[in-house]
Symmetry: C2
Subunit: 489 residues, 2 copies
């Protein structure tokens, strides 16, 4: 199979080049398991007759990431099920004694506080893919667990999918295809609302990894590209991508012919596209949302698609998932929806299966994971799960033994941050006042007691608009940080 | 409507910048009509209820390119119909006295030799769009007619559409969408054969304007891009686009995960993808064909889609068109077909409506058209309609009055060729032996008697592999051409 071979070989190249552990992060961590037999449970969707149709279809229960032979040959137990809900499900039986739980966002096993409490042996929660919404991260952190995903494994997949959906909507593909299968031929009924993408204004709400990959792929289409994010890109990257930063979301949205949603679901973004916001969009706007269904007000989207205010809506995310048979988005006009699949292409599956295997291998050896994969590390969370918008202490940061004071610790933090993607992403721009709404900072020193390591200390760099009233530090000047730290310490 | 406004403004910019006549081509031609009332007939598809849904929907019979008011205000008669077939159709009634016939490839009025014979006043055949397959070009040339189209008006539209179709097939969009509308949710049934485009080998058969625009848009997807054409691109352009030239089509095809057809329908390409050629493609290959349906053997495509040898086939061209209700491509598995619409987006319609208006305006004033628009000019054909692969004499070429010898004429030709796109496209590469199959040349001097101008002389630069056995001239050395001309003269 042409596509099968091409996908597999691309992933082999990726794994061999990028996923090996740099020696600097190989320091042993108490949290990780010593070698020994582990009980690993994987929860995946059943593929039934499709499981055998493609040897690279690794993400289903039958093929179980392709790691059974490897795990069992090392003496580990590997239970795989798709039965994940309710008190009598197969998963529930294994909760009390599993060490590792592997799940996917496509068929999520909800890891509630209650399940975490019952899981006395649980150490590691792995997402085969991206997105750990289904895990109670606070409970996981409090229990000292590690939660990790295969960061980056789906970004290309989703960005490509978004561009496909933009074109499907702009060019009015589906009515033409439906004519074909219905035995019809009526060019007018398609052409009266089919457009070129060229020359249109496309705005992405969020320009993280997926949003940037989308913008890069949009560039040769000669569109007017806009992006809104909390952060302006590096000017060089911005100019390479050819997109214009829009600080004010509500100033950007009414300019857009096409809006793409590329932001996470948070309390702030939930229901963000409600009746009022949609009313302010251009009449005839097209919306692509592969982020999360709940960012949209479901009924407001139905109403605007029915009135024609939204001329097309496409995405693979729903609220809830799986979408029930009577979900109104299935039946609204001008929708180009699919089930939640954009991140689970065969190529994506090969990447996240390889990423999960890599993390299990490191876990067995007591080695660190690639730093970007951690959501909660040994009970310490990144991505704001514990408080506001905290960013994690970088994985290369010192431990107690090398830091005898807050000041020394902070010096280490600053030095470590320089190599950490969040440094660029947050500090340089935030502190240079490019985001004026974040005018003040606070540094939080956390003492996070851990079930296994009593003295484990994590340092977070966070911010709030209320707790710090001093001048905004200059990111180029490390002493500003030390001064700040002194005042706070 | 967001898209409507954006499309219209982009086209206004295009027309005002690019379509005005350079003063050098404004020389009056005897063939063009003197000022006076003309009878112009336009044949377009009827849009019925869709006609009024978008003021920019110019390509339908009801909106008739938006030029009625303008034509009638100048005293011309403008008949518009969609009734074009059979001896008693509306078009047939106007054949005897029309001066200009405007047609589209989307609802083609067949201009046969018989109709041309009956059309005693006919001077000009305009295609609103691209493609003049529906005109008997030999008969038109013999009758001294001019046939012109709006070259370039659809190239972006078709290239975008091709990329959409590639993504739809690679990512297995349609089965997911059909699940949505059927109330289903089965990620496995989609994911087992959904891939990323990244890393796949995409080959275009033909890399003319559309093929190049496609390759440019594919570049950020990080594919392995191949192209086959009679001509290798300029090395700089090739490196910008990032595609590799494949001289031997049958060597390229088996390498491709995705094949895109971007070549014209000729006697040579008709049925080119037959059972034997398809059998040599990779199992699981995806094919996109927005060129012409007859390039494929219809049944061979059905069989290969049914067996899975072709894993997906998408395009908007059929043989015949409109596709009858029982056309097997409507019902074969893994097709993502539409009616023939890719070149008739609203943006495309605005461009070709503006292009037709521009040519009519020039016709009324007796001015030349933009040179690239001519298919047959005053009875002289380009694009090989009259003989082999002849290329036209450039529009800026001298007429009899300025050329008193073949040698002087050729010097003028060579100088004119330097500014003509075909020079780059054919001469530089052909003669530099990059296409070894074109090892020899001949220059043909035509005397083309014309109904209106008895002494009209056209010069063609053509080639054949048999009539010239001398050394291949160096394109950088004009004297090589003069020597060649001398020998032939």
């Amino acid at each position: 199979m042409a596509m099968k071979r091409a996908a597999a070989s691309a992933v082999r190249a990726l794994i061999s080049s990028g996923n090996s552990a740099p020696s600097s992060v190989l320091a042993s961590r108490g949290l990780h398991a010593a070698a020994g037999s582990k009980k690993i449970v994987g929860v995946f969707y059943k593929a039934n007759e499709y499981a055998s149709m493609n040897p690279n279809f690794l993400g289903c229960a039958e093929n179980a990431l392709g790691i059974r032979e490897w795990l069992e040959s090392q003496g580990h137990q590997y239970i795989v099920t798709s039965d994940k809900d309710g008190p009598h499900c197969e998963l529930e039986k294994h909760i009390p004694d599993l060490h590792v739980l592997i799940t996917t966002p496509f068929h999520p096993a909800y890891v509630t506080a209650e399940r975490i409490k019952k899981a006395k042996n649980l150490q590691l929660l792995l997402t085969a893919g991206i997105g750990s919404d289904h895990v109670d991260l606070k409970a996981a952190a409090e229990a000292g667990l590690t939660v990790a995903e295969v960061t980056g494994s789906n970004v290309v997949s989703v960005a490509e999918d978004e561009l496909m959906r933009i074109l499907i909507l702009v060019r009015n593909f589906l009515p033409g295809h439906h004519q074909v299968i219905n035995g019809e031929w009526n060019v007018a009924a398609i052409a009266y609302r089919a457009y070129d993408l060229e020359g249109k204004t496309v705005g992405t709400v969020g320009a993280g990894r997926i949003g940037r990959l989308l913008l890069q792929r949009l560039k040769p289409f000669n569109c007017n590209l806009l992006y809104h994010d909390r952060l302006k890109m590096d000017p060089q990257l911005e100019s390479e991508i050819g997109a214009k930063f829009e600080e004010d979301l509500d100033a950007m949205l009414p300019k857009c012919d096409v809006i793409v949603i590329n932001m996470p679901l948070t309390e702030k973004t939930k229901g963000m596209f409600d009746k009022e916001r949609i009313a302010k969009l251009k009449k005839g706007v097209l919306i692509v949302n592969n982020a999360r269904g709940a960012i949209m007000d479901t009924q407001a989207v139905v109403d605007a698609c029915s009135s024609g205010h939204i001329a097309g809506y496409s995405g693979d995310v729903w609220n809830p998932q799986p979408a029930p048979k009577d979900h109104p988005w299935r039946y609204m006009p001008n929708q180009a929806m699919t089930p939640h699949v954009s991140g689970t292409t065969i190529d994506g599956q090969l990447r996240y299966a390889a990423g999960v295997k890599d993390m299990l291998e490191r876990y067995f050896k007591g080695e660190d994971f690639p730093p970007q994969n951690y959501i909660v590390k040994d009970g310490s969370s990144r991505r704001g799960a514990l408080e506001g918008h905290m960013v994690p202490f970088p994985q290369t940061a010192p431990n107690d033994a090398t830091c005898d004071s807050i000041g020394a610790l902070l010096r280490e933090v600053l030095s470590a941050l320089a190599s950490y993607e969040f440094y660029d992403f947050v500090l340089k721009r935030r502190l240079a006042k490019e985001m004026r709404s974040w005018a003040s900072l606070k540094l939080l020193i956390y003492n996070q007691p851990d079930r296994r390591s009593t003295a484990q200390q994590s340092v977070y760099l966070g911010w709030s608009s209320s707790n710090w009233a001093g001048p905004v530090p200059d990111p180029a000047n490390q002493s500003d940080f030390l001064n700040l730290a002194t005042e706070l310490s």
